[in-house]
Subunit: 160 residues, 2 copies
């Protein structure tokens, strides 16, 4: 599975267009490379992005609730109505929706930050501050992270 990693800062032009880093476009699963889906990040004033396949998984998970239950209603509305699917133009750019630009405080430049299975788009200054904070927190809590066998390793283990 290809992962989103590294960070890139690109220009946002007058129409709200930005190039999505070519590395990130290449990391999208095959068959889902035409577009990305974005929404307000839950914990920060940033835009969170993923691929459509990921969204389909979330939607499948909603079927765990009874179709007319309160929970199905609340989750489907809160999760799905806040999404925006954006297709790339011929040059790999997207147009950032006004609402999300304002939420993240983005004006002339946007920082793309890989987060593994997802990536985020930040106002560059805000990202620097947040990265600092995150790094300090990781130093404090570094012992909390435990390594697990990943999927590939589990398969190899089964075969041996």
């Amino acid at each position: 599975m290809p992962l989103f990693m590294s960070k890139y800062t690109n220009k946002v032009d007058g129409k709200g267009r930005v190039s999505v880093p070519a590395q990130f476009r290449a990391s999208l699963p095959s068959g889902f490379q035409k577009s990305i889906v974005m929404y307000q990040a839950v914990n920060h004033e940033a835009i969170e992005c993923c691929d459509l396949l990921h969204i389909e998984k979330v939607n499948d998970s909603l079927e765990g609730f009874a179709p007319y239950s309160d929970e199905h209603d609340e989750f489907s509305l809160a999760l799905m109505s806040g999404l925006t699917e954006l297709c790339f133009d011929g040059n790999g750019r997207i147009i950032l929706p006004q609402e999300l630009m304002e939420y993240a405080g983005i004006t002339n430049f946007a920082t793309f930050a890989g987060k593994g299975k997802t990536f985020q788009i930040w106002e560059p200054g805000a990202f620097k501050l947040e990265l600092d904070i995150a790094r300090r927190k990781v130093k404090e809590k570094k012992d909390l992270l435990r390594f697990r066998l990943n999927k590939t390793e589990r398969i190899i283990k089964d075969e041996s």
Copy 2:
């Protein structure tokens, strides 16, 4: 599988006409793109919409009840009798039925909110309030959502 996502607010003209967002029309299954089906949302003062194929699935699931049971009677009557099928005009508009407009309190503008397999139509102000509530509830109950293998993964798993 195409999903209804994102939200759009469109104008309702003097004749009660509204454009159904082109994205939503494109998300209708092929062969079912001429019309949508709508009814009073069970949990809110909003209009719930889906495609005919979805209604056929709901109808099929009624067969889970014994044919002359009280439940079969109650559910089939409540769910099926309140449905309205609306066809698009040449520009992708529908005419909102008076009864449903009143139920949802819609006058001059209507907010279309994606919910995955269905979408809802709200009076814009009411939607803002409800979205707020839904987001808060989801934060409280976020542990209830469990990721499930999606269809693609299940197929791969079956083959292995």
